[in-house]
């Protein structure tokens, strides 16, 4: 079965369509892989929970195939990050405060994929509420990197990246606020797309930074991402910030002529603090572009330097408000036997939230409070507007921005846990896409000299996910040649 679990979603779809295997066999293969890994001395811990009812669903999918009533993605399994709600399933965001919460509704994206026939395999581990870059800030413990189990898989969607990379799921949904899909994708050697803000509905995604949050897709190939996108994207009446995009025709991906493409390599992402091994990978990707007839310019976009700073004002500000609802009144965990309401609030929240989440709630409340609002939140929003304008200018001249995904290769578990600033700086190349609402894809490009996975980031103009995926597919094809 090892063979099965190594396959891409598209390959699996073909095998199912040709009836070369059953859905039950397929789902069981992933569950078995999960069970086998649990016996490892250092289990990956990618899943918080696997859904036992996925076998039943697989049986129904097989019946549908026999009846000839199979839906387009019938029986294809996927993993779901623990901050995207599924009807009848728990969703905790890896936080103590949501312990026991079971969702009475499904996120729009989950619903669309399930309606197309897909089967949720389980909930994946993450940094609490998406706040972290290493998948260590979780009440369920850290997730390990399948490439080297002493390393972080990256965060916050580390569980999703680990299960895809290790063959415990063919594809997974993650979420992004400032790089949480792309960073783990690069650390685990898989593809990770952060779509444009608005491409995928946020309804049912537990909010962290609402103006930045977006569901992302982790997969083994660009084609797999395109297939998922073609069913999951499009305006949602439940999300006013969703966009009326149409990606139904993006799969299968078309042949893309690289010739004539204009690519910018911003010097801000190649200077100090970037690992030399990674820098070299980016440069060789640039060579690939040139070899295929693309124009690659190296130039400075100074405002990119501001991205991490304003991100760590805007995201915590929105988070401080978004996380206010976890008060123990209506759902989740409530600390009982308290003397009064205030004590209930204080104890529920003090015990429920981890230290990184508390840190960001503090920062958020601070930057929004009167007296500091103008200096921090308002200023950050103004700089964000400038950044968006500058990025628009870049895309009036270029088709793509090329950069590393992460400035460093995956690091040791525990290495940065107590150094929040060092942790924040791993987001240095990714946050600008969220702030500018544009799509970005982390492309696995092999390993450093030390054998650590490297991801290169392609960013495109808003709603040009198709271009990113097509270019990556061309590269992918060549790489496997």
């Amino acid at each position: 079965m090892k063979e099965l679990i190594g396959m891409s979603l598209s390959e699996l779809k073909e095998k199912l369509d040709k009836k070369e295997m059953s859905t039950v066999e397929l789902v069981r293969a992933y569950l078995d892989a999960f069970e086998a890994d649990r016996k490892h001395e250092k289990p990956l811990n990618g899943y918080i929970e696997v859904f036992r009812d996925s076998i039943e669903k697989a049986e129904k999918a097989d019946e549908a195939r026999v009846r000839g009533s199979a839906r387009p993605l019938e029986g294809l399994p996927f993993a779901v990050k623990d901050n995207i709600v599924i009807k009848g399933k728990h969703a905790t965001c890896a936080s103590g405060v949501l312990k026991g919460f079971c969702s009475p509704y499904s996120a729009t994206v989950v619903k669309r994929l399930v309606d197309a026939g897909m089967i949720p395999l389980g909930r994946t581990n993450m940094d609490e509420f998406g706040m972290g870059s290493s998948c260590e800030y979780s009440i369920y413990g850290a997730t390990r990197n399948p490439v080297d189990r002493d390393l972080t898989p990256g965060g916050s969607s580390g569980g999703s990246a680990a299960v895809v990379a290790s063959g415990q799921a063919p594809v997974a949904l993650g979420t992004e606020t400032g790089g949480s899909v792309r960073t783990p994708a690069s650390y685990c050697g898989v593809y990770g797309l952060k779509p444009s803000y608005g491409t995928l509905s946020r309804y049912g995604v537990v909010a962290y930074g609402s103006s930045l949050d977006q569901i992302g897709i982790l997969a083994k190939t660009p084609q797999d991402i395109a297939l998922m996108l073609s069913f999951a994207a499009g305006a949602d009446p439940h999300d006013m910030t969703s966009a009326p995009t149409n990606f139904t025709n993006c799969s299968p991906l078309k042949e893309r002529d690289i010739k004539g493409l204009k690519v910018l390599l911003p010097t801000e992402f190649l200077g100090e603090g970037i690992d030399p091994g990674i820098k070299q990978k980016v440069e060789s990707f640039a060579q690939w572009f040139k070899k295929n007839g693309a124009q690659v310019d190296t130039d400075s976009v100074p405002i990119l330097q501001a991205a991490v700073a304003i991100y760590y004002i805007i995201a915590p500000a929105e988070a401080s408000s978004n996380l206010a609802r976890y008060d123990g009144v209506r759902y989740g965990n409530r600390v009982r036997q308290t003397a009064n309401l205030e004590e209930m609030y204080v104890k529920t929240r003090s015990e429920g939230f981890g230290k990184e989440v508390k840190r960001r709630i503090f920062i958020g409340n601070y930057v929004l409070s009167s007296g500091y609002y103008d200096a921090y939140y308002k200023k950050a929003m103004q700089v964000r507007t400038l950044l968006r304008r500058e990025i628009e200018k870049v895309f009036s001249k270029y088709d793509l921005i090329l950069s590393p995904t992460s400035p460093c290769p995956p690091f040791k578990l525990g290495e940065k846990v107590d150094d929040p600033l060092a942790m924040y700086l791993t987001d240095i190349c990714t946050t600008f896409s969220n702030l500018a609402l544009i799509p970005s894809l982390s492309v696995p490009v092999g390993t450093t000299g030390a054998g650590l996975p490297v991801g290169v980031q392609l960013a495109g103009n808003r709603f040009r996910e198709d271009l990113l995926l097509e270019v990556a597919a061309m590269y992918h094809k060549e790489g496997s040649r």
């Binding site: 509704y105 909010a207 006013m240 609802r325 309401l341």
Partner: protein, 486 residues
């Protein structure tokens, strides 16, 4: 002590939209606790708000009716505070870009019309309700049925100078909302709520001193509002005399009105004032308001109380007092006008009937004019009054018929015919009756002839008694006099 009372009001009205402000749950009052809920209005993880278009429409209508500028771009903001009845930990409201700005209302006071400026009208959502049990369990419950109900908050300048004017101002908002049919403004049910900011400007020599502003909450009726403000004036006068506290030193405090003691008690000092950390609601996009659409909304405005007041004076020639009473309810005014169309006589007579007879009936039966008109359409009232004028029935008979019209839901004509209530106008038959009355009362006839002319009314009464009220009064009187002369 020479002083001015300075009052500004913050009025909240619940809007009668079909669904809640940001989800598709029904927007109705009350119901079994926690039955009108969804992921959005319970603030479940991952749920997102979607703005109700009707909320924006109603806000624009209200703004136009209160002479406001409708802004071209508006947005929602989050007002952050934690309370068990606030499911999201923040209220979706509007902070620095309210949908309506700079309006005014003219209120009818004892001192004539007064203009009260309106600073802003903004849209927001209501909270749920906390229900505290009185038993030993000490448990509190939360009912979220009301959570997400759309509200308008209407903020006035401190232009109000007396408790009576404050009540008149809020009543005037209530009338406008009712005329627009966008809120039922029921203070008891909480669909109209008012907080008032009040302080005094004390004049000593050529100096003016402002006393600390007090925000009064928990005024649940117009009566409570008047009592609370009157109490607060006395309290602030007393406080000024004894402590000479100034606004610039103390700032603003919050006091709650207590129905039992008819007084206010301190709830919150300035230092405790909440830090709401407003910021733009990222889940909702800014709303662009097309000026052409606003223009088209103007045509949807009904005739408002102020316009009606003017027209009623000009068109119907009614006295101010009557107009005021008719305009209290748009439907009452409408009933009056419809009855006038049917009635051929003086509009004043219709006004008297609508204000007195119908007014009493509504009170007695605890019904609305809408319920009343279902059984007694205004045309029936006009017809009834026409019958009086044409002498078919007497005014007294008309009142009886009017009661029957309500009780039986019939037209005046049906009742007159069925009950044989037609006035006896026939001279000969009436003469017989009068003669009979005189024959039965020889002593009274004697008295009359001896100059006691006031016995005439007794004799009239006897005629009415004999005819069960149907005798034409004028004719009867003439006949009585005529026969007594003989």
């Amino acid at each position: 002590m020479k002083y001015d009372v300075v009052i500004g009001c913050e009025v909240h009205v619940q809007l009668l939209t079909e669904t809640k402000a940001f989800c598709s749950c029904r927007n109705t009052f009350g119901g079994e606790p926690n039955t009108r809920l969804c992921p959005v209005c319970t603030g479940l993880p991952g749920a997102l708000p979607v703005a109700n278009q009707t909320l924006v429409e109603y806000a624009v209508l209200a703004g136009l009716a209160m002479n406001c500028t409708i802004v071209p771009v508006t947005k929602f903001d989050r007002k952050n505070y934690i309370y068990p009845d606030m499911p999201k930990g923040y209220q979706i409201s509007q902070f620095d870009m309210p949908i309506c700005e700079k309006g005014f209302l003219e209120i009818d006071t004892d001192g004539g019309l007064k203009k009260i400026r309106i600073i802003r009208i903004h849209m927001e959502e209501d909270a749920g309700k906390n229900i505290h049990t009185e038993d030993r369990s000490g448990l509190s419950h939360v009912d979220l049925n009301r959570a997400g109900t759309p509200l308008l908050e209407i903020v006035s300048e401190p232009d109000i100078r007396s408790p009576d004017d404050a009540v008149a101002y809020v009543q005037s908002i209530k009338h406008i909302m009712e005329y627009l049919k966008i809120s039922d403004c029921n203070m008891e049910e909480g669909s109209l709520r008012c907080d008032a900011n009040i302080n005094l400007w004390v004049y000593e020599g050529d100096k003016k001193y402002a006393t600390p502003i007090v925000e009064i909450k928990n005024m649940n009726s117009f009566k409570a509002m008047k009592a609370a403000l009157e109490y607060e004036i006395l309290r602030q006068k007393e406080e000024w005399t004894t402590k000479r506290l100034l606004l610039k030193d103390v700032g603003k405090v919050t006091r709650g009105y207590q129905e039992k003691t008819q007084s206010t008690i301190l709830q919150r000092h300035k230092e405790e004032s909440a830090e709401y950390r407003y910021f733009p609601e990222p889940d909702l996009k800014p709303i662009l308001i097309d000026p052409a659409w606003v223009e088209s909304m103007k045509s949807r405005l009904p005739e408002l109380p102020a316009q009606k007041r003017k027209r009623f004076a000009e068109e119907w020639g009614l006295p101010e007092l009557d107009i005021g009473k008719l305009l209290v309810d748009a439907e009452l005014a409408h009933y009056f006008e419809a009855a006038c169309k049917e009635y051929k006589g003086e509009p004043k007579k219709v006004a008297n009937w609508v204000i007195t007879e119908i007014g009493n009936m509504l009170n007695k039966e605890s019904i609305t004019i809408i319920q009343f008109r279902e059984k007694v359409p205004p045309e029936s009232l006009g017809e009834l009054l026409n019958r009086i004028d044409s002498g078919v029935i007497s005014g007294k008979m008309a009142k009886g018929i009017f009661s029957d019209m309500w009780a039986e839901g019939k037209t005046p004509e049906q009742i007159i015919n069925e009950k044989g209530l037609k006035q006896i106008d026939d001279q000969e038959s009436l003469k017989d009756i009068v003669r009979e009355v005189l024959d039965q009362n020889p002593k009274t006839v004697e008295d009359y002839k001896n100059g006691k002319e006031n016995v005439l009314s007794f004799l009239m009464g006897q005629v009415m008694k004999a005819t069960r009220g149907k005798a034409n009064p004028r004719l009867s009187q003439d006949l009585l006099k005529e026969l007594l002369q003989k």
